[in-house]
Symmetry: C2
Subunit: 360 residues, 2 copies
């Protein structure tokens, strides 16, 4: 069976890192007899330039029809001053919402070869391996009512943080499933001492916990979680939290590793009758407009996002592991793109990094 | 003129660290001819135990009548399972709101003697000196409507994030004033690419900026800010942000220093006709119930909070500096409470730390 993949390179370094994934796919078609049927589309600034719209209905339809979507990155200074409603970000938020991608998996992993890249001391982060589950289609990102309006001559800006029980339950289930496949420890992060929305969150997580008696559950307030990530990140296995808290904490956790250019992510929807989920994969890093087009960006986060695709969308765990091992080996071999460069290593281009990975 | 101070020791280690401040005050009365008229009150769990209410009207009235309030810490496992509405935290939120303490000053400072306590590498945090201004009486902490309710058989939990222009303007002004007294750099943190409430926030900060042409202003999304704090915290001088983002980021920044037991905070209201502000001072650390009553807690954060009181409420900057210098010297002399203990140093009790500070 062919696997339908939609590639959305997006802006900045998106297209050039995506090209390296394309080469990995080509290699797999030849050597592993896996057929990807790849189509390409526009999103973010690239789509604004072409269609005055960060995500067209056509591209969205393609995404809905694909088995999996691979995204590069969106945004850049060129589109920074556009009005709120047509910014590149709108495209990203819309595709997540319309595809129902409520479960955002954000691993924070320290590669042995790169432990020195962290600003944290080696013993604090060596071997770090956290999986953050961020709720991605609800909460304050999408809550209504929202806006800016004048009341009695004073302007107010407002947003609504809202979660329903089913919304919390489905992300909690993904988190517990994930914990079962890992170290069976789950920390749910909320602000239940202040926000009623997260009182409900905690209640639902506790109820779902009853179905997973083997998983050790804890609850932590978000302010404490942001401290604990800095104090002793290795205390965590799986973390689950709201859209907004997940945005903040997963970026903090990513930076603990010191190598943002290495981190993939997956966003998954609900399983259908056949157990298939809509899915979008993307690197954690942004579009890095300052280095775009220079063939110096790190393609590994996007390649590792593709590996996540193999694992979660195509049940090809072995091939995913093969790619992940190849990444480890390329690093061990001393190759580095500029963002992860260290003394004594060989600095290589985006293209050479892609080639070396394939040789591995 | 006598200075009316209300002391609210609160729970856990609150009372014992407060006792050391009392000794500093006694010393100042004798040696520096400063008269404090001290009254004591209950807050948090202690007040729940006595009055079934985390903050009584009487205590609140005392706080309103005082020139400054010094708080220890609130909360503990004993009260963790109380219903949302009568938890110890309610007392803290109520006193902030009723006293109009909209400006929360949270310095993140690395003491030279304690640079090794950080989980971050020495060169990343040595000399770190950030001032975070957190809006404290608005935003999602207090926004209406809020609650948990059933609609069509589904339960929803919801909160409202709301800011008015005047609310943003007054905290922005405090932030710019602070930047003018420091390194003249201000970073405003928002999520203006997603939340309309913070689109307004950014707009108002930009307008206020026009009155402070000497201050270099930048705007950063909260997810990026949480990364940048880990990547390179010394890039920041003053940061200003919303109540919720400030809760998360200031705790992260505090933990970068590695010595939570050393960090003070101030919460200030609007200046009245005489330029006086209502004010509450408290250490950043919590009530640490696990070590309460053992005379091993670090009293320095509370003593430094008292120093902030001298500076901001009583215009006694010199005396504040005297205390701060004494703290530095005690540390240089090798004394440590358990929380900041390092090899080769002398571990001392809460009481001995207080005594040594006074000798200094
Ligand atoms: C670009 C932005 C809208 C987005 C978010 O806030 O979700 C990004 O920060 C992310 O984490 O994917
Ligand atoms: C105890 C809690 C309500 C409080 C807050 O969230 O503001 C605390 O975390 C703080 O930062 O002072």
């Amino acid at each position: 069976t062919t696997k339908k993949v939609l590639m959305l390179p997006g802006d900045g370094i998106g297209p050039e890192v995506m090209r390296q994934v394309q080469r990995v796919m080509d290699w797999m078609a030849k050597k592993r007899d896996v057929n990807f049927e790849v189509t390409e589309g526009l999103i973010g600034g690239a789509s604004i330039d072409a269609h005055n719209n960060p995500l067209t209905d056509e591209t969205l339809a393609d995404a809905m029809a694909a088995d999996a979507v691979l995204l590069g990155a969106v945004g850049g200074p060129k589109w920074d001053n556009l009005p709120f409603d047509i910014k590149p970000e709108r495209g990203l938020l819309k595709i997540r919402k319309e595809m129902g991608l409520f479960a955002n998996l954000r691993p924070a992993l320290v590669f042995d070869a790169l432990v020195g890249a962290s600003t944290l001391k080696e013993d604090v982060v060596k071997g770090l391996d956290i999986m953050i589950l961020r709720e991605l289609t609800g909460g304050i990102y999408f809550g209504q009512p929202r806006g800016i309006e004048e009341r009695d001559g004073v302007r107010y800006g407002y947003n609504t943080l809202v979660y329903s029980e089913p919304e919390v339950e489905r992300i909690a289930r993904v988190a517990f499933d994930m914990a079962m496949k890992r170290d069976k420890r789950l920390c749910s992060v909320d602000k239940a001492n202040v926000l009623e929305s997260t009182v409900l969150w905690r209640e639902v997580v506790e109820r779902v916990a009853k179905d997973f008696p083997e998983v050790e559950v804890s609850h932590m307030y978000v302010d404490n979680a942001s401290m604990q990530l800095v104090r002793n990140p290795k205390q965590f296995d799986v973390m689950v939290t709201t859209n907004m808290f997940g945005d903040i904490l997963s970026d903090c956790a990513a930076m603990l590793t010191g190598s943002l250019g290495m981190l993939p992510s997956a966003s998954l929807g609900a399983a259908d009758a056949d157990g298939k989920r809509k899915a979008l994969y993307e690197p954690v890093h942004g579009s890095a407009p300052d280095i775009a087009g220079q063939d110096i960006a790190n393609p590994l986060a996007t390649i590792l996002s593709f590996a996540m695709m193999l694992r979660y969308s195509f049940d090809m765990g072995e091939d995913a592991t093969m790619i992940e091992t190849a990444v480890q080996n390329v690093l061990k071999g001393g190759l580095r793109t500029g963002d992860i460069m260290q003394p004594g290593m060989a600095k290589v281009s985006t293209t050479v990094m892609g080639e070396s990975l394939i040789s591995e």
